[in-house]
Symmetry: D2
Subunit: 139 residues, 4 copies
């Protein structure tokens, strides 16, 4: 059932989607055994909250959380995994920095999977955390 | 303390932010008494989930939810309101459609405000719902 | 597939479970067409936050939210419905009052159902709101 | 501002509240430096989901999550800390077991604190996870 994807296959999948391609997501690492994936997203002008502030808008951070949670499962299932719901908590403003999202599967059941996502800045400071529920079997 | 904003002032604020400007958000209506605001977001190529599918990516929908919830408070407070956290539930795929977000304040306390957001497609079908917590006093 | 339950059958189901029986939940009304159910829970000494304060502990309120959301689906499915996850937002302290929970199904799909729950006090003031995700097909 | 509480003071606080006293919560450990607390809750007849099943009702698990998250902050602040909202995800049924809740502060800001809570059974299996937002300054 599960078809594990390689680093290059996951990176290619990230680039196929127009939305994810626009976000210029880069796969940093994937660990099938630990069910953990790390994605990086560079700042770009369109993601600024206020012009010239260098601050990430929360919507872009939430998008990163949703996708990172998704791809922690995609790498295992081998394809698209619908999000049921997710929660985003903002802990600190993210300013003039790229963002790294570490997504870890907490539970992958037959029907439902739950994933935790930590978002850190260039200094490793925690900026936001996410928790998402996905339907892996529909992948 | 509170400075109610006019329709034009809210629309101008939506356009000042690079992120929101990129989303081309349009203020449909605001109702200060009911503490309710309606925003519209047009589909654009960058928001597609899969190329050529016409399906909205969930990240763009979550961004709309965050902003609509925020602006239900901004129109009353008169400025930026930080999001503490928010939940996004996806109910139906949104395909080949603009999106309308209706945000209604459920409770605006001294420290914390809670807002519900419904996202519908061109046929009025509910595609997603959100619930956000904000810090209105820091606005 | 669905077996709609009567008022008496729902009330009996509420009393069969030791936990719900302890909560002394009373079915106020059920509306199959609107997919809405109203439950009432009386204050009891064990649910007080601080001794002698008459204030409901949040855990008891969260329990009421979970069950009310569940029963908005149970009445339709005819049996137990597992909760996937739920969110509880506390809006106002609930003091020296019974609690009423109104649960409304927002979306009942093939796999996933989402329910909103409003909790009010004896004066109709909103004390807490909940949003839950359930697996109705396993019912 | 912060008044760190001892093991005995935290245990005494848990027993002062009628609701928590009913839950018979036991403080297993507290680590002020790591901002982590572990509570244990024994099964009792009133918390069963179905009579004779030995399965915990989700409402009792949610209550444990709320309180454990709270006390990760209480031990530091020295008193009651209101919950703003919290999310409960059920990962596995908890049957014929006590429950242990490990609550870890993810971020304690000036206004808002966010805490993660893991709930495990007697075999160390993860049964549920929670994430809560609290107002530590009002403590």
């Amino acid at each position: 059932m599960s078809q594990e994807m390689s680093h290059d296959e996951v990176q290619a999948a990230l680039e196929r989607s127009p939305f994810m391609s626009f976000m210029k997501l880069k796969l940093v690492s994937l660990d099938q055994a630990a069910q953990r994936i790390v994605l990086k997203m560079p700042m770009r002008a369109e993601f600024e909250r206020g012009a010239g502030t260098g601050q990430w808008h929360g919507g872009a951070i939430a998008s990163l959380i949703d996708i990172a949670g998704d791809y922690a499962l995609v790498m295992k299932v081998g394809g698209g995994v619908p999000t049921v719901n997710f929660r985003t908590d903002f802990l600190r403003p993210a300013m003039n920095t790229d963002l790294a999202a570490t997504a870890t599967v907490r539970r992958a059941g037959r029907t439902i999977a739950v994933v935790d996502i930590d978002v850190t800045d260039d200094n490793g400071k925690l900026c936001a955390i996410g928790r998402g529920t996905y339907l892996p079997t529909i992948g």
